[in-house]
Symmetry: D2
């Protein structure tokens, strides 16, 4: 029966995707920590809101959602804490600042940073960093059909307004288990698993790799390049979106002001061939100036999903549909050149 | 934590309103009983589908929904069983056959019938009729803000397609308790309670007492009157909708065939005054024949909701909004005369 | 601007999937025809409601939905009428009676029947059968990404409660056109088209070819076989679901009563090899009797979707994802044997 | 028919509330103006996201929604432009900065500011400020059941995740008209109108006047008081939320940092009597210091809705339900004292 849950003390938070999310008292010190609260001001989808105006939801609401789904799959406190904190290491604009730092020659990844700040986040908690990072059930969060993905697919589509991504996560979480650090899925949820990967793939085309978003992302890379003349990378990654935007404004960053006022470059060339694209870029950059042309990429992003069925076979072995995604994705890979509109 | 629920064996049923509904093994003999399965073929809203084509959902799905909400409020097996069976006594077309029998001079109510058939329904169950009908927590189902109402408001609006009735039932059920056979509500859910009663009231106007539905209902009363020349009331109430429609067709019931082919009477007169309406009816019936005119009523249906707040006051004392419904409803009461269109 | 639409006279019908559906006066004689009204009592998904209790929506609501989507794509009156009538030729339980008649040696298809009854349906209309059946824009309804499919995917998932099928049909219909009797799609909606075919495929596994539904379908084939001793096929196809169920009951059809009371056979064998399955069936039928075993099939149902992109290539050429469905589907093809549970 | 709309050129924007929003080319210069784009960074609900983490949607998406609903009610270009610009005069955090300036002795209202900046917004448009501000159909936007309200009720509940506010706006807009500068409503939509006002009232209690939000608002008033030592009011109102938060941080505003880190005051006293509350406040402020206590108000906010039915009566005359809101609201009026938690 469900009756037992009423005896745990805690807090209810309203979420448009999941209804009520219950956080037990013992996790509240983590939730209330400034490092987690900072995620309220970190956009989940960075610049996607340029194309989808309502897709300005935060990593904070996503973290709550990941926690909620995980709480239907396990009662391991370490894993539940991990669900809450797993994105705390992100820089401003989430993956985008990570990408832009890397393109500008700096190495940064949010998982390493999480390890660094986790002791501070847990300071008022009963849990140790090891109990959180190494909890045996963490694949329920991070796995190919883990709660991280189950939440973001639904959440991103809810806020963007794209009719994809309403995954039956309740059915999924009660049909997976963890064995040897990997997720095992029952055969009966095969259609649901296919649904996950296909939804993710379609959201890739429609949202994450939307042409206009890709252009804005490359403009952001340039914006950050100029910002790095004023700020150190280790200070940038601590910022929230608000602080980063302010830094751009304060340093009169032309690239950022173009992004903000939607003076976006126009795509003039695309090709699957890098050399071809680079040549075209150099030609146009030579003609119009370095600051008036960008070279970007719609990467092939699909990776083998690492989902194992209960009979030991991988999802690709069982589903030609999922297996096809690799080739479909590879064909959509392209490089592009975009230039400032006159 | 929520983990415990996974150790109970049972069955999951997909429901568009609530997602997955879990029925534990010990209640399956009740669910599978022909008297409960019969509810699959009893329309929740009788003839409302004439106006709202998709509102042909069944009492069976409603019963599952009531069970589901109740399972979030209590683990009392008696009350959970009561949630499943509470509507099993209904005749075909739910309340409408009850109303039509009464108008034709026969007394029938589904609660008395439930008492009669309950021993049979429970025959393969561990529960006795008394444990089900007298379970102390049953007000969680039947109360003014009980699960019966919480489900039907959402369900009826979901299938009719009316944008009213998405009640936050999860928040409500964890803020009510049973004391002395009555529901007690915490003050903090006052807006949610107001929402329930107002939604119900608005659905009354838009759906349950829609003008066209009222006319069809009165035509059904006449259809049943003729049917009673061939069938006994005690046999009619055992039928499901399919059997009743077949009985109408077999006896070449003209009233029913008019309903089925949407040859509905047109409303030509309405008044809050019964005498006035009756006079007009007699005039028109005299002129066109008894079979070409009907006299009906949009009843004042709002009853004091019997919800008590934790401080002992009734909801009407606390909320002028809820209190206003009585007067609003009274003003909408009217009698009408409708005649066959030429 | 949208203003113009307000000057057309007509009727609004509330639909939970599409909101308000507007039917102009000139199409009302078609909508009100008994052949179309009959579809209110023909289940869109036949016996799927055994597994998904709310999936008892009607072909009537689907027909309205197809009309609604079509009205966003064209103003051709012939095609709009076609959208309304396109399913009028269906027998009771839609495709299932067609399948069951075929399995019992009778040929029936709803498209041929539509041609036969169409003159009658159009009798009070300004349109001729030819103007309806041969309207140049009809591929907007029937095409691989036509309004028929766009509606049923969304509608079936809405009523079953399966989180698949919320297609962005508004975006799709304004990016397709008809050329030489075929639909042409703009390249920019490629992810939306992939979404359609994958949703359909996933609904196939979860709903249309659900194991329990397949078993019930084969039991229905047997039920119909016995019914054909009492009724002629040409009379059966005219029935609505209510009349057919009544015919089963009147003839004390054991197969039907088992379906109705959920005494469903259990699957004991499945194989991709027909001979193997047939042997097993014969063995079991020999042992337990012909009436206690059935042989059925989860067919490979995926057909090339016949969608052409604006550059002349087919969708399979452009999308490995869509192309993979053929092989994925083929692998799920199996034959099964099910027997009566003791 | 709907066909005509396809010949207008323009742009489609995806919105989770309304699906696709079409902006015709002639309005794009207005949409793209920096004053309108600035609304992307102005939160519709200011600090409500403290309680409802996903309620951080922008005035920009609301403006698009108001435009979309208006476009279903009229084709008047002036009114459509008005729908897009009607909120452009808002300061950061929308109504909250207006309230906080007023409480600190400065007069500011967004409508006056709109008049001032409108010529600039329209500079690349064919419309004059007069044609926009004085368009005869503007009551379709601003009226008691105008598109402004129809959008925000739905939008605020969508993002907060509160199950109230799904208004049938499509049905409403085709049953209202403008006469002598006022909205006239057909009697048949009375239940829909009641639904609007009750939804709004319930959202008031649950969201706009949530206790925690009221406390945060008063803390914001204090934060702004200190900020006014550094910035001029006329500069503050030009900021977007990002700039204002940065100004708070730069001046090391203690009140703001408490809001941001959720160190919110706790409510220790509430009373309908102002004098009583003021006395208690002074007592506590004397004891703990001015900076450790705040005096706030849950205002009576319900105003007569100014909706006229087609027979000339007001909505309050027709609906005791709507009329009751005034008294219900008046009873919920209170003053409160909150103090810094230790």
């Amino acid at each position: 029966m469900l009756g037992d849950i009423f005896y745990v003390e805690g807090k209810y938070i309203r979420d448009p995707v999941h209804g009520e999310i219950f956080i037990p008292d013992e996790l509240l010190p983590i939730l209330d920590h400034p490092y987690i609260q900072r995620l309220r001001r970190v956009r989940q989808l960075a610049l996607a809101e340029i194309v989808y105006p309502s897709a300005n939801h935060s990593r904070f609401s996503h973290s709550l959602g990941v926690y909620h789904i995980t709480a239907h799959a396990t009662s391991s406190l370490g894993t539940l804490a991990y669900a809450l904190v797993h994105d705390a290491g992100h820089g401003p604009f989430s993956h985008l600042s990570e990408y832009a730092l890397m393109k500008n020659g700096y190495k940064f990844d949010h998982e390493t940073r999480l390890k660094k700040i986790l002791p501070e986040i847990l300071q008022n908690s009963v849990l140790s960093p090891r109990e959180v990072l190494k909890a045996p059930e963490n694949p329920l969060v991070t796995g190919g059909i883990g709660s991280d993905r189950l939440d973001y697919l639904r959440r991103d589509s809810y806020f963007a307004g794209i009719a994809v991504g309403e995954i039956a996560w309740d059915r999924i979480v009660r049909n997976v288990s963890v064995a040897d650090g990997r997720l095992l899925a029952r055969h009966k949820i095969l259609p649901n698993i296919e649904h996950i990967f296909v939804s993710r793939f379609i959201l890739g085309d429609a949202l994450y790799f939307h042409k206009t978003v890709l252009i804005a992302n490359e403009m952001f890379v340039r914006a950050l390049k100029e910002l790095l003349e004023y700020y150190k990378p280790e200070d940038i990654v601590k910022m929230d979106d608000t602080a980063l935007i302010n830094a751009f404004r304060k340093t009169e960053n032309r690239w950022w002001s173009d992004i903000e006022n939607r003076q976006l470059f126009g795509m003039v060339f695309r090709s699957a061939d890098y050399e071809e694209a680079r040549e075209r870029f150099e030609e146009l950059a030579g003609e119009h100036g370095e600051d008036n042309a960008i070279l970007g990429e719609r990467a092939a992003w699909h990776k083998p999903p690492e989902v194992i069925m209960e009979d030991g076979r991988t999802i690709e072995e069982v589903s030609p549909l999922v297996a096809s995604l690799w080739e479909t994705d590879r064909r959509r890979h392209y490089y592009f050149v975009a230039v400032r509109r006159q």
